[in-house]
Each structure stands twice: as C-alpha cells, then as structure tokens.
C-alpha cells in the first residue's frame, strides 16, 4: 500500500516534468531574445539559439533535460553561464532555513491551539481562536507582510525591513533577520492547521469510544492524548502537509517583499530573463517538495492506522 503511494508520487512527478516543460515553452520569448534585447539582428539571434541548442525540436530538449535531471546534472544557466546547481545551492539552503523555521514555530503551536480549542469547545477561548484564524486566513500574506513592515520597521524601528543580511554571527542577528518573514508565513500556514486539528479532535471527542473511555474513569488529559488524538492523526497530518505546501507558494511573495535571498526570488528573476533551465529546475523542486509532503502525510496516516497497516 505504501509502495503504491510512493509509485503514484513518482508517476505524478514524471507527468509534472512534462507539464513544467510545456509551460516553459508556452511562456513565449526565449533567452536569446532576452539577452540580445530589442536591437538584435535575426542572424545574431539564430547563432545564439544554435549555440544554446534552442533550435532543436522541443522533444529532444525535453529528453536531454530529463536525462540531465536524472543524472543530477541540472544544466547550465543560459544567462550567467554558471551551473544551475551552483546558483541554486545557497538559495535553497536559505529557503529551507526560512521554511524550516516557520514549520518549527507554526506546527507545534497550531496543534496546541487546535487541540486546546477542541477540548474547550464553545468556550470564550475557542471562539477567540476561531475568530483569529478566520481573520488571518482571509487576509492575503502580502497585506500582513506590508503591515508588519509598516509597524515594526517603519514606525517602531525594531526590525529591519529587508532580510537580505546573511550575517548570523549572533542570535540577535538571526532573530532580526527571520522574525518578520517567519511570523508572516506562520500566520498564513497556521490558520488552516488550527481549524483542521480542532475539527478532527472534536470529531474524535464526540465518538462512542471516547464516551466509553470517559465511563471507564479515564482522566481528561489521557482521554484527549491517548484516545482522541490517535484517531485525529490522519486528518491532522494531511492538514499539516497541505499547509506546509502552502508555504511553498507563500515563500515567493514573502521572499520578494522582504528581499530574502531564497529560491523563490531566484525563480522570479529567472522568469524575467527567460532562463529556462533555472525555471524548470526550480519548478521541479517546488513540485517535488509538494509531492513529498503530501505523500509522507499519506504514509504517516497509513502507518498510524491499524486498519490500514494490518491488511
């Protein structure tokens, strides 16, 4: 069953590579045009295209690109002539730092708040959490980010408006660089997780087996953590995976607003220069990350459920 999920994910990834490649073709214009600008002669364009193998039929270029991907050769940037991997490595690390920190902050907090809201269902606290999550989820992240910059950087001068500094010599620097982007991303991501966690735990708490456990004299903490939570894990893990995959999209906006040197910024730059190898690779990285999240959520849900595990 797990093998089936993984196989499905790999197949999806292959189909995605086709889609990514097709999309990059549809973008119109090519790197030669972008490099030579408005005044390029047709001869110069043709020469440059030949040099870049842009004159080959698209299926050949696809196969060459796919073969390279499988060998771990990500190609060479058309613009900077540097290997894509060299360009990507530091940016990927930076983005992973941002996403990792956000996940580390948001997942435990979201689970805690979600479970708390479920246990105190109908209380003032529950309603406050619900209101807050609905409020946050309905505001786009660029508005939150802009507001934060206005308040913390422009008015209060507590934090820098830009997070491009790579100087992590002290904890203070780290906090200064990451606080606003992480908070912004966490806001976007947490709302969904809190709501799903609350719903899943509420469902489990309403079940006959929790009533039966209560009538056995099981104390509340054990009732929630020992009886309700294991049954809520499937939906919760899926909500976490989906929310974290939202991170991928959120990262683009946030990195641009805070001028954070991550993969997403690289992608935005690559699109404007029609640097196809770079675009394709970054798109594949985003897709693979998304699939990995969703597939591992499925696998965790399967492993946690004895009905699926013992088949």
């Amino acid at each position: 069953m797990i093998a089936k999920r993984v196989g499905g994910a790999l197949l999806t990834l292959f189909l995605l590579s086709l889609v990514v490649f097709a999309m990059s073709l549809l973008m119109g214009g090519d790197a030669a045009e972008a490099m030579l600008g408005q005044n390029a002669t047709p001869e110069a364009l043709a020469g440059l295209r030949a040099a870049m193998h842009l004159d080959q039929p698209s299926w050949q270029r696809y196969l060459a690109w796919l073969g390279g991907l499988l060998r771990g050769d990500l190609g060479v940037s058309l613009i900077t002539k540097l290997p894509v991997s060299t360009l990507l490595a530091p940016r990927l690390l930076a983005s992973l730092q941002l996403a990792g920190l956000t996940a580390a902050v948001s997942v435990p907090l979201a689970l805690f708040l979600g479970i708390l809201a479920a246990v105190r269902r109908g209380s003032l606290l529950d309603r406050a959490i619900s209101m807050a999550t609905i409020g946050v989820v309905s505001v786009p992240e660029f508005v939150i980010a802009t507001l934060m910059v206005l308040i913390f950087a422009v008015r209060l001068h507590w934090l820098p408006a830009l997070s491009s500094s790579r100087d992590f010599s002290s904890l203070h620097d780290v906090v200064r660089v990451f606080t606003m982007p992480v908070l912004c991303l966490a806001c976007v991501v947490m709302a969904q997780m809190i709501r799903m966690t609350r719903a899943a735990v509420c469902d489990a708490l309403d079940s006959s087996y929790v009533e039966a456990a209560r009538l056995k004299g099981v104390p509340p903490r054990r009732l929630v953590l020992g009886h309700a939570l294991p049954n809520a894990i499937g939906p919760i893990v899926n909500a976490v995976a989906l929310s974290l995959s939202v991170l991928l999209g959120g990262v683009i906006v946030i990195e641009v607003i805070f001028n954070y040197p991550g993969v997403a910024r690289l992608m935005v730059d690559a699109v404007s220069t029609r640097d196809l190898p770079l675009i394709q690779t970054v798109a594949m990285i985003f897709s693979a990350a998304y699939l990995m999240l969703v597939t591992s959520a499925d696998i965790v849900a399967i492993l946690c459920n004895p009905r699926l595990r013992h088949r």
């Binding site: 456990a213 009538l215 004299g217």
Partner: protein
Amino acid sequence: MTLSGDPLVRLAGLEISVRDAQGQDKIIVRDISLEVQPGEVLALIGESGSGKTTIALSMLGYTRGACRISGGTVEVAGHRLDGLPEARLRGLRGRVVSYVAQSAAAAFNPMLPIMRQVIEPALVHGLMTREVAEDKARGLFRALALPRPDTVGDRYPHQVSGGQLQRLMAAMALITDPALVIFDEPTTALDVTTQIEVLKAFKAVVRDLGTTAVYVSHDLAVVAQIADRICVLRDGMVQEQGRVEEILFLPRQDYTRALVAAAAARVPAAPMPDLPRDAGDPPLIQMRDVVAGYGGVDAQGNPQVRILGGVSFAIERGKVLGVIGESGSGKSTLARVVAGLHAPASGRVNLDGYTLEGEIRHRDKEQLRRIQLVFQNADTALNPAVSVGEAIGRPLTFFHALRGTDRKAEVVRLLDLVRLPAALAGRLPGELSGGQKQRVNLARALAARPDLLLCDEVTSALDPVVAEAVLDLLIDLRRELGLAYMFITHDIGIVRAIADEVMVLYGGVPVELASHEALEGPLHHPYTRLLMASVPELRPGWLEAANSAFSCGSSAGAGHAAGCRFFQRCAISRPGLCDVLDPAVHVGAGQTIACHLGFDGLQAAPRIAQGAIPA
C-alpha cells in the same frame, strides 16, 4: 422485593432534563424511584425514547449532551452521584460502576490494541500492575468463552467479530470487580445466533462473579433470560416494576400487556387462497441462478467478491416469499437485484416470463411500476424536505399521470389504506413517529399499484408494539390488494407469521427453501435449525435449555470457495465431504435442502433429532 440489607443502587425521585436550543429545560425522565439489591440483575425495558439508557447512565453520574440531572438522588454503593464533581465521579467510574455499550464495535477505540483498552480501567484507577491486569483479563476472556483467549488481546478491534467485541467489552467492564455493571442493549446489534452465545457468556459470568447488574433492553425475551427483576419504562416514567415472572405472566398495566403480547410468538396468519391462474402461466417473478457481487467479473462470470452464489426461486401472484438470513448473508442484495439496483453478474430475473434487464435504467416504466421496494429505514428513505402528500403524490404523477384534485384524492385513499389520517398529507416526515413514517413509506410504494413489494427489513427499526401493527397492516394489505411480497428479515418469527414460502440464505446461497407447512415440520438444514433454536423465548430458563448442538464455532467463515458454506459452524458436518464439494440439493415434500446429509442423513443425525425445536 427483598427487604434484607441495604440496596446497592437507590434512585429516588430522579428527574433528568434536557436544555433545548432556546435555553428551555424540558424534562425527559421524571420521578424514577427504584432499587437494586446486591447480586441482583435489574432490567430496564422500554421503547426508544422511554429514557432507559438515560436512567442507566445516571447510575454512572453521567448524562449525554445537554442533559442534566435536575432532581432527585442517585446512590450507588454508598456514594451520592448526583451533584458530585467530575473529578470525584471519575474515581468511581470504571471502578465502582462500569458500562457495557450497545455497540462495542463503536465503543472500542479503533487505533488501540484490545488488551490495552481492556486493562485501562484497572490501570487508571491504580488497582493493579499491568502484568496482573493482563493475567486477569485473559482469565475473563476464558470465562466469557472467547476463542484464543491468550492472544485475542493483541488484536485490534477491526480484527475480531462483533459478538467477540461485545464479550471483550464485558471483560473490560469486569476487570476492576465493580460493584455494579450497566449493560446497555449489549446484544441488540448482533445476529440471533451470535446473541445466544453472548447471552450465555454474560449470564455465566454474572452468575459466577455474583455481579450486580442493570440490563437495558427493548427485548422482553432477552431480558427474561438474564434478569431477576424488570422495570418497565415509558416516556421517562416507570410503568411497572416486579419480578420477571410477575411482569411476564401477571402484567398489571395495559402497556406492559401490549409489550408482552408483542414479544410472544405470533399466530401465523391464515394462508391466502391461491389466486385463479392458468396452468401454463409463468410465475410473477422468477429468479434463475443469479450470481451477484462486487468488483470485476472473471472469465467464468464470477465477480471478485461474491455476495449471491446461484440463487433461484419463484414467487406466484399474491404469494409471500420470506427471505431469512444473518447480516452479510446477501438478503438485501437479493432485493436490490430484483429491483434493478444491483445488476447480477450472471443469471436471470423474469417478470411474468419475460427477462428483466439487470440495470434499472434499461427497464421500461411498466416493469418499474410493477416492482416496488420498501426500504428498511423510513427515516432515511423519506426526503425530510418533502411533505407526505408530495412524497406519495410523485409516483402517482410519474406512473399514472394523476394531477390536481385526482392526485389529492388518491393520496387520501392511500393514506387511508395504510391507516393514516388524511390530515397527515401536509406534514413533513420529521413531524411523524417512526411507525407513521414506515406507513408513509409503504403508501409511497403502493401508489405505483405494484404487483410485487420488496420489503427489506421493514419492521426491524421499529419498536416491538409498532412493528407488530405494521406487520398486521402488511397482512391486511396483501388480502385487500392481492399483492405478492418478497419479505426480507432476520427474524424467523416474522417469517412464520407472514410467509407462504421461506428461503434461508447463508453466505449468499439458499440452504433451504420450505413451504409454510414444511417450515413447521421436523427436518431442516442445520443452519435453519440453529436459527430457529436461537430465537429467545418469553420464558425464564429458555437460555439454559436452549440447545446449541447445531453449531460449533461462532464466527461466520463463509469465505472459502468450495464446499458447504456452513461447514465451519456445522456440528454434524462430514470433513472431507462437506468442505470439498458443494452440497447437492435434496427435494422433499414442499421443501428443498442443500445439505450433503440429505433428508435421511439429517433424520439419522442423533443430536439434531433430539435438539427439538422449542415448541
């Protein structure tokens, strides 16, 4: 009532109310006063909505949802439970009072192994170490006659059968040696053949441990086996209390009398005279070698999951075929095949000699009209947003093009036919009682003026007194309208009352087809015998006398490909024959039996011959 010693449970003037959406309190249980002596089993009996479960749960100091104890006192083993703070109640629940739920399948946490849940009460109350608790649990599994008592605890709830889960739940309730055990309809969700095993296990363990118990049930015959005293409830009030014999044989209240009458074996309806027909006429409906199931069909035309394996029968005009079998035997699928809701993988269904299409969308309107299906659950079969008149009127317009005043008049006539007042036409299903809904459901099917009604467990979801009335109505309708029924049920008593012919299904295969007369005769398929012997009777002591010689092994293992499907549970099977070859069909007077032993063999089998059907 014995006056010696203090009672273990004492409810005095108990009142429970529920707060509705407007914040108004509504009393649902009032002025309940009862006592349970140590070592006694008290049964709370009543229909749905009588408050029996609510009262039983109050003995755990527990109320569901928006309910609360609004008056009176609850005393159990010297503790006042009403008004006790939750933390104190928690210390008593599972230790002093424990609970066995109606559906153990829902009450066991699907994510945790069984043993962990069974010993949890002992551990959370700090009564014993894990090792001691597990030893004790295995002892209880043995006492409750569970198969593989040493390893069953390692399994997860979905890996054991419903009857076993119910016994495991009893083990969980008994692990702390509580002063009181509440059994909340513990056998209602089980098949009769499983129910008898579970009842025997409960009774033995309650007797051996001297447990005091409150047993909640709607089934008087079950209660007669296990209880010492009965408390009859209705609309949240006590109707009558007394020893089992007093309630069964000398009921004082009218309501109790009606309950007892409904639980007693029915007198079969007088057989219908044959309708005039020519000798050459084909039967109204005829099924030939129907195989049906789920999943793809292989080269031999067998579906991956076979639910029906070669079913043939015929119903003549105005006749009733009773179809009986346990859950999973394929009864409902059979009705769905006839109705065209489930296309058979192979075989044919003929209506008046013409073969019907397997799928309903290929059948013509006239064929649809002639076969109508009445669903088991009227609650879900009726659209809650459509009024009664509209629900009955739609088929009138669809089949008979009736509109306006004609349609209204016909709706009134149909309501009258099912003994409902014409004023009900404007109501919504939510405003009707369960019995009324089932009558509307029936009127809707009759609106098409069908020749054949497929009745799928139409009385199972109803309270006994109401079910009885619906059954009487069906018998009358058949007489008035000359309808034929295919009457599907798990209750052999109902089949006896209404059917001209009975088909017994086991594992998707008819093991016996018997006329009304032959059903009362002595020779039957071992499974039919087991079914008959498993129906609880309304007399104390039946359970002890009930002979389970027809069966060994409990869990239905109808999955194997070859041989008799009943092989694993049959006490007189012949290994090497019965588990290898499909049984031949033996034809007798008004009766066919699919059993390797044949009529002679069944007659010779000594234990079967002695294990007389209780008269």
